[in-house]
Symmetry: C2
Subunit: 489 residues, 2 copies
Amino acid sequence: MLTYSFEDIGNDTLYEHLYKAVKNDILNGTLTPMQKLPSKRSFAKNLSISTITVENAYSQLLAEGYIFSIPKKGYYVSNFSNPLLPNTDIKSDFHNTDTIHNFSNDDIKVNSLDTSIINDHDTLKDAGGINLTANHINADNFPFSIWSKLIREVISNEKSSLMSPLPSAGSYELRCAIAKHLLDYRGLKVNPEQIIIGAGTEYLYSIIIQLMGRKLVYGLEDPGYKKISKIYNSHKVACTYIPITGSGINMDILKESNADIMHISPSHHFPTGIVTSVGTRYKLLEWANENKARYIIEDDYDSEFRLVGKPIPALLGIDTNKKVIYMNSFSKSLSSTIRISYMVLPAQLMKKYNETLSFYSCTVSAFEQATLAKFISEGYFEKHINRMRNYYRKLRDALLNAIRKSPLNSNCTILEENSGLHFLLKINTNKSDAQLKEDAKSNGLIISCMSDYYMHHHVNDNEHIIIINYSGIDANNIDSIIEKLCQII
Amino acid sequence: MLTYSFEDIGNDTLYEHLYKAVKNDILNGTLTPMQKLPSKRSFAKNLSISTITVENAYSQLLAEGYIFSIPKKGYYVSNFSNPLLPNTDIKSDFHNTDTIHNFSNDDIKVNSLDTSIINDHDTLKDAGGINLTANHINADNFPFSIWSKLIREVISNEKSSLMSPLPSAGSYELRCAIAKHLLDYRGLKVNPEQIIIGAGTEYLYSIIIQLMGRKLVYGLEDPGYKKISKIYNSHKVACTYIPITGSGINMDILKESNADIMHISPSHHFPTGIVTSVGTRYKLLEWANENKARYIIEDDYDSEFRLVGKPIPALLGIDTNKKVIYMNSFSKSLSSTIRISYMVLPAQLMKKYNETLSFYSCTVSAFEQATLAKFISEGYFEKHINRMRNYYRKLRDALLNAIRKSPLNSNCTILEENSGLHFLLKINTNKSDAQLKEDAKSNGLIISCMSDYYMHHHVNDNEHIIIINYSGIDANNIDSIIEKLCQII
């Protein structure tokens, strides 16, 4: 039986330590593809730890694709060069219940600063009802007083630098603060000189198009955010759509396609919630390495909000050939109304940017760059993210509990609830998706369905999968939401 | 002799009233093309006003192209349909001394809030010397305390709206404030619904390209801002370069070109300082009206800083066929480090924007939009502009006086000093422009020459015209600047 020492675990929790130990043994070949892992109970007994610790470690390895499970049989090491991953039928695939695990959060370290966050504030006023599609952030959750204090300090102390034109790529202080954050939070070693700050990822896409050239073909996830597709189309660059499977994008279809740049969100795909498996990650990098023109855009838009276990590691972290353009923003973690995003370019692309595009002025106000730099470097951002993760977890749990206690429970399946700020609700109904949305609307509830996000590969217009984006809802509205949902099905 | 009543002049100054009266008579045909106007002295005597009042009114009419002067003969009404304007040789043209007038500012209404503005602060540190090319704003000139107060108010009072996604075109409050400002300050009647806020004009150009289509040809001023050309080139849209004459762009060359969209700065061309004459303005609009695809982009980037007389009216103000896209920013009037610009689209283009591009999120932070809206609507912006105009006028006067008292005076001609934040210094020297710049640099002075701004039509690489951008210099450095300039010639 596998044995690991728990003597030298540093700051890790028990489950993090176990996760890292097993992951290392998979990566270094000690554990070989298809090898069966000990059952949770026997492994726990052998290591003198709780079953829940093993469960959490296995869940993390499962989420990242290092291992897979066969119901009633157990856990096995994945085969990276020939991943034992399901077929490419989207429907059957990402609803594969093998990958859905409900487990306790007790073992997870949470920096809980404020437990009275879910309160009686601010009814959403969108269209006179409740909007489950908007990325609204409740006003109570933004750190207004700290932000206000930091702006005042910046205005008092940095007058002269606030009036000096910033480098095209943005304030060096902010880029250093982001690099530090990426190291601490995502384990990414990034040179601040390779970071470009911009007024939203939408703007940064246009910079990428100008940087990479208009003759390349951009591969987009299908289903996926329609807005990303709209932006590429609006710039009149060629796009191709690659379907999503249970382990990330379909690599066979990608390889057959003419895509040069693959735009993905490996840590958490929207709307399916799928995490790209480690096998697919290595295949993606291999695909990019095959051709000089190929690159991967890693959109890490909500990696801060994995509500169970550790954040999923970034693709950039295993990119040894400088093929990954990493993008993130403060839209989910702070507010979408503060338009600050950034990207990390591989050294050769940053060089090209400096040579060809650095005539552009940075699009973000010097005042807000200086404020955000302080917010991150003085530790407020970390506290804020921890607080928000805690808040969203409670909100999600309250919503899930309410669903489970309601008549809805017998008519739906909850999917992909452990990550990001939405989950999926597969509903047992005869109504069409269009009818579901219409009925919801007339009940004062704005919803979207999975079928709204298909682009090229229309699989099924009536999957009855509702996307529950809970980032902007109020805990007081949960009963009302459930009631409305019950009415429409 | 012409006679006008000065009884009903309202809030206008005497010269403004006279300017408007003569302009109206030119526009309504009472004064006909080529008609000689009274001499300044006899007109003044007849109207019982001072000669300087007539001189200021004539200067404004001259600047806007309603009249022209023939040395030793007098002033004549321009012929709009066949403007009696000089030939298209750039060199001889915009240095035509007929259009250069030095007159007193005594008659000009100035809201002087602060006369102790030129003070002993902040030596520019660019490259260890003085930079006459940078758009730096001295930190003392930004209204930090008011801005700080307004941000605090916004954060205290508008929490909920600060967290709600803004319309794609920007905050309605800010658009209303801008519409009001355009009415009060530029006499433009603009519907707030036709205003789009963006993070810099550079970003707005990319929106225009997406809106108008990539197949159109963009006409650019030559000489002109190289950055504008770089942006269009970076987006890989076709550009054509139209030379500048003494009355604006060369209409004959524009008509022969394949340009669809003409990008101009009629109120104050950079770097020549030329104001597009009213004759050329009507011809431009006529040109645009000839073809459905044609439009004019009016870049009104520093119209707030005409230091003599009234601001030059905007082209948008006489655009009856909805052919003008008006653009402006707060870069010159507030600070380039606050990235807020806007454009006013004709109704049919705004409709197209709403249909095709409003999926884009607004690129400017909600916090700063709310702060700027308050800054404008509570009257601070008007006060700030007046204060800055006064400040820049004093700075320019101090610089001009210092030049005139120095040995430089016998070796140079000062050109186009009445508008914007730069003037031209034509130097009598045998050195090449490249040598001038190099010698300046080794003396700790960074300068640019007119010849740096030619694009397609290279007229003369050695014109010896230095662009003196004084927006960022310190009054205490004037002697040092003159000394360095003397050394290099």
